[in-house]
């Protein structure tokens, strides 16, 4: 039996070796590649590029909010349509806010976490040679660039880019002429998202099947690294929630182009013109949108949580505290995220009883969230922490998640929400908990896995400087927005100066803009570090962090097919750090059992790894 397995494995190894002999062409290798690692890196780079685009839009938004009505001759010369005599036009401002949100949510955070890390890490961490459906995987990536082109084209068509926000509320998004950008621009926005939804569907089919089917010998479900668990749960969320938005988008396209009125109520008057519509309901769009929209924010944060759990354990040299609870709370959060969408609609017109129900489900989410937070803190407790850049960003994630999560509790109460809804308080909430926290998860992941992806280490000094500037930068930028919201400044407002009661906020708005510009500039440290380390970084070797999971068993970067030797066989759970009695402070998942003598009293979490409950 053993011998048969060994010879079978040797045969597979030979087959792999012979496959790697005929080198694929450049195009097949780096552009239209079916290798999950290349596709992962393509997603990563595309998303980082889009982060620069979306970030630049945010800077323009902040310029306007600090100095409304000021003339910017240089900007006016670069974007003559967007600025009138150097002063930003309101329709351009709304287009910026809409496109910034759309890009950051869908084309940066979702694509980089599920597409980038999901593709790169899942096969490596489960010990597979590639994804279950490599060609589908390639197609899924190659739908993204067309989606981006269609989206950005909206800026250049008549009427400009849409201004209805990333949530595209009807009827603004449903009636041409109801607002600037509600013409062709809005249609392009919908087509772009449709392309992206097909891409996400293909991706999640692939991730789920791969995790279920291609795990290495010995890799029971309860031996999966938490990153894989998180990506798996996020893929299920994505599979079940995006089709609802697809349905809504189809209906919206029908309303826009085929004369239906799914979202348009009787007697609607737009621009002094009574529309011939009947029987629709704009609230229907909100329900459908948020039924996706709320799970979507968890599709983003859940993989970041997985990355953070992994990075914390590795650099704290301790097992993740409460592995089973970490998996269970991921599932609980995922499940609950389908039951809370109404908390975005408390003020849209909702029966108070229903509001109370949504409040209850919303506040219950705090329980699994707190479980995760306490487990992260317990993992850090009395650890010999290595303060690497990856670790700093992971710790920063925990801080931001707590800060942003707490204001979520405030917003989840319908009474408080009535005051805070659509103010900068909400902007503060989600930029801390989603924008910044997820971004910190991304950075933690990049600093941690860059050596595996490119075979070289990133510069730690620059990395730590990048961390501190970013950490201070996001708090200085987003925390004061709570005060703006409490003072009544509404989100998406074009100029706070036109309201007397908001004029006193000008100094705060200027300070926030200054922080935001600093925060944006600090990211160039990362860009520089990334580019420099790609060519000049120190050679990483297989396992620079002395980590236990399977990707570190492969060479850096791993060859096509991932394993230069026999594919790995798994003998233990992924977090055997600082095992009492073991020689080194980490035991790889591939180390056979007798190689380590347990001196009794294995950590509580350790028991989780050995279970047979796959």
């Amino acid at each position: 039996m053993e011998a048969a397995i060994r010879s079978e494995r040797a045969a597979r190894g030979r087959e792999r070796a012979s496959r790697s002999h005929h080198e694929p062409s450049f195009v097949r290798k780096y552009i239209f590649s079916t290798d999950h690692k290349v596709i992962g890196i393509q997603y990563l780079l595309t998303s980082l590029f889009m982060a620069l685009v979306g970030g630049s839009m945010a800077m323009l938004v902040r310029l306007q909010l600090a100095w409304p009505g000021k003339a910017w001759p240089v900007l006016g010369a670069v974007f003559p349509d967007a600025f009138r005599d150097g002063v930003m036009r309101p329709d351009f401002y709304y287009a910026l806010v809409t496109m910034h949100g759309t890009i950051m949510v869908f084309f940066v955070l979702t694509t980089i976490l599920s597409g980038g890390f999901g593709n790169y890490l899942i096969p490596l961490q489960i010990g597979a040679g590639d994804m279950a459906f490599p060609v589908l995987n390639m197609v899924s990536y190659w739908l993204v660039p067309p989606a981006i082109i269609v989206l950005m084209a909206a800026f250049f068509v008549e009427g400009g880019a849409p201004g209805s926000g990333w949530t595209a509320y009807a009827p603004l998004s449903a009636v041409e002429g109801s607002a600037p950008g509600s013409g062709l621009g809005q249609t392009l926005w919908l087509i772009s998202l449709a392309l992206l939804m097909v891409s996400f569907l293909m991706g999640s089919l692939n991730y789920i099947t791969t995790v279920l089917n291609l795990r290495a010998r010995g890799m029971a479900m309860l031996r999966l690294p938490l990153t894989v668990w998180a990506l798996f749960v996020a893929a299920i969320l994505s599979l079940l929630s995006f089709p609802v938005l697809t349905a809504a988008a189809v209906m919206l396209l029908f309303d826009r182009h085929f004369g239906t009125s799914f979202f348009l109520p009787e007697g609607l008057v737009v621009g002094g013109r009574a529309l011939e519509v009947s029987g629709g309901d704009p609230l229907l769009w909100q329900h459908l949108f948020w039924f996706l929209g709320h799970p979507e924010v968890y599709i983003i944060i859940v993989p970041a949580m997985g990355i953070v759990s992994e990075v914390l354990a590795t650099h704290a040299r301790k097992p993740v505290f409460g592995y089973r609870f970490m998996v269970g709370s991921l599932m609980a959060i995922a499940f609950l995220s389908f039951l809370v969408w109404g908390h975005h609609m408390f003020t849209s017109g909702m029966h108070p009883l229903l509001g109370t129900a949504f409040m209850t489900t919303t506040l219950i989410i705090a329980v699994p969230s707190a479980v995760k937070t306490f487990n992260w803190l317990a993992t850090l407790w009395r650890a010999r922490i290595r303060f690497t850049s990856a670790m700093l960003f992971a710790i920063g994630f925990v801080s931001l998640f707590v800060t942003g999560g707490l204001t979520g509790m405030v917003l989840g109460s319908p009474a408080a929400n009535t005051y805070f809804h659509d103010t900068y308080f909400v902007v503060a909430h989600f930029h801390l908990v989603m924008g910044s926290a997820a971004l910190f998860g991304v950075f933690a992941g990049i600093y941690h896995w860059f050596p595996k992806m490119f075979g070289r280490l990133m510069n730690e000094g620059l990395g730590r400087l990048h961390f501190w500037l970013t950490f201070v930068g996001v708090y200085a930028t987003f925390f004061p927005m709570h005060f703006l919201g409490a003072a009544g400044m509404m989100r998406r407002v074009f100029s706070p100066q036109v309201y007397g009661f908001l004029q006193q906020l000008e100094p705060l708005n200027v300070a926030i803009t200054a922080s935001a510009l600093g925060l944006g500039l600090a990211q160039f440290l990362f860009v520089y570090n990334f580019g420099y380390s790609l060519f000049r970084g120190a050679r990483a070797g297989r396992n620079p962090w002395q980590a236990t999971t399977l990707e570190w068993y492969a060479p850096s970067p791993p060859p096509h097919g991932n394993w230069d030797e026999a594919p790995p066989v798994v003998h233990r759970w992924p977090y055997d750090y600082s095992l009492p009695g073991a020689g080194e402070d980490f035991v790889p998942q591939t180390a056979p059992e007798p190689a380590v003598v347990l001196a009794g009293g294995a950590p509580a979490g350790g028991a989780a790894g050995g279970g047979e409950g796959a």
Partner: protein, 194 residues
């Protein structure tokens, strides 16, 4: 039990005893399709409850179409049974019959649309007509996807040297096809009663 004790090795992980990937993907895809139709039909139900408008008189042709679709599921099952028994030729004939019945259903749906249009009921005529065209249209597109899948399966079954191979190709496509039949019955019932 102790972490990673040797006994767990045989049962833990390993490629044995797992479902084929094709089967998993079909069920995942159907989960996504289900969510999409949950969205469409819950919109429809809420809409009918809120703003009662005159319902479109459904063409009687729909009953015939329903029969065609249900019959296609039956012939598909018959085909799989033949493959299972090891007789390839009758199995392939059953697949051809399934495809014919499926295309007949689509043609019937289009005919139902033209009848409605001839009676002056268009997509934008009333909320109910909008939902009628939307639901039947989206279902029809998904069914056409199933037609393509069955055609691929048929060509594979032609090339297959033995019936067992053909059977493996039929499995996932059959799951999808039966699901589309069930989905149609659900949609038809909703349109009929609400």
């Amino acid at each position: 039990m102790k972490p990673g004790a040797a006994g767990s090795r045989a049962s833990a992980g390993g490629a044995e005893g797992r479902l084929p990937s094709g089967r998993i993907v079909v069920w995942l895809l159907l989960a996504a399709v289900t969510m999409m139709f949950v969205a469409f039909t819950s919109s429809y139900v809420i809409h009918r409850a809120q703003v009662p408008s005159v319902a479109v008189p459904l063409p009687g042709l729909l009953w015939l179409n329903t029969l065609l679709l249900l019959a296609s599921s039956a012939t598909l099952e018959w085909g799989s049974a033949e493959f299972r028994r090891g007789s390839a030729a009758p199995g392939r004939r059953a697949l051809v019959a399934t495809l014919a019945l499926g295309l007949g259903f689509v043609a019937g749906q289009v005919a139902a649309w033209t009848r409605l249009a001839a009676a002056g009921v268009f997509l934008h005529s009333s909320p109910h007509s909008s939902f009628f065209y939307l639901l039947t249209g989206v279902h029809g597109l998904h069914l056409l996807g199933g037609v393509v899948a069955l055609a691929v399966v048929l060509s594979r079954a032609r090339a297959a040297s033995e019936a067992g191979q053909a059977l493996r190709a039929v499995g996932p496509a059959a799951t999808y096809w039966h699901f589309m039949g069930g989905l149609w019955v659900y949609l038809f019932a909703l349109l009929f009663w609400l």
